[in-house]
Symmetry: C2
Subunit: 241 residues, 2 copies
Amino acid sequence: MNGNPTVEVCFSPKLYSYKLTKGSFTTVVVDILRATTSICAAFDHGVKEIIPVSGLDEAEEMKRKGYFVACERNGEIIDFADIGNSVSDFIRDDLKGQTVVFSTTNGTKTINMARDAEEVLIGSFVNLQSLAEYLISKGENVVIFCAAWKNLFNLEDTVFSGALAEILLSHGFQTVCDSALAAIDLWNVAHSDLKNYLAKSSHRNRLKHLVSDEDFIYTVTLNSTSVVPKLNGEKLELRIY
Amino acid sequence: MNGNPTVEVCFSPKLYSYKLTKGSFTTVVVDILRATTSICAAFDHGVKEIIPVSGLDEAEEMKRKGYFVACERNGEIIDFADIGNSVSDFIRDDLKGQTVVFSTTNGTKTINMARDAEEVLIGSFVNLQSLAEYLISKGENVVIFCAAWKNLFNLEDTVFSGALAEILLSHGFQTVCDSALAAIDLWNVAHSDLKNYLAKSSHRNRLKHLVSDEDFIYTVTLNSTSVVPKLNGEKLELRIY
């Protein structure tokens, strides 16, 4: 390895502590179905800030304090919450300029685990290019951290990781990470027909009755927004250019 | 899922406890570079039985008791051992009919972790077809368990898993496991030029100075032997047809 920045992909929260990247790094959290796609959608539609919380107790406490709360477990909205974590839940005029508390099965836990990174960003197909451009301009080591499904590898987070890793490698980043190489190969298998490729994933099938076709098409559409959400203390905010 | 047997792939020892397979199942342990390839080579060349031990202390104690000991850590032979875990270490006439104690960085620990399965088998490219035929004839659920590299996903174990999973799915097995689907896609990317595909893997590069070209070519050659090693109590033995 020379001085070029590195890219590594982590397939599960249970593998994050074994990552090879040392020193200063940026972590991109990925939970394509659905947390990180919905976070991008929310910011794209004017939400001001999102507070990710891991536990249900904490989410319910925030609700009691008067916050607007988005909360799901196993894909379904929790009873005390205002909305779940569907993309379409966040696309509503009354959330413009507002703060949303957000808790999901896999995504928000992953965001909170990633706090060892110097900077934590949110990645999804819808903001792929803007995210990649920011990472390239920054030139720091990157860890792409898949939220997975209950700790197990999933296709949709992996294929996105491959898309991002491929752009970074084409801009001088390096890797010694087999997960990144595999993810890039899977992206190349998938990308000409991303929707049908991901339709076979176990998690898509798990969520089929919960994710509308409209939301799924939004999810697999590349670069529909230029937002790059980043963690700032306890909150996700829009990175300002 | 109907009553057909299932196949699942586990990419790391740290993910094994999260596997989806329930009830009775057979686990295939995979550590292509190099433990499970070397175990197949050893049985193919007449070794009678192999005792896998996880710890160095245990291996050294077995050496003191007079056993022939194969032992490596991080790819290099340990000083008290008779041999390391290269394929070529096991291809020698004086081991015919003998017992070998075996301890490696990833492979033997994985074998010992797999003891929750009803049956534990050893898989590598060199015994792929025989192993698949046995699993098909048995018709039980299968978990393909990659030894990985210090808990991290690796390409060579994954591509083998895909090769095996693809055969099983073509014989009526089913899967709801994204790891299996990804492994099959990677096998299809790799298989027309397996040697060069795996030459890019991080672990192959890590071991380049330790794995001879001859051993590597043996490793990526399909179906050179019909041995199916299986765990029987504390020992690996040849499954008798």
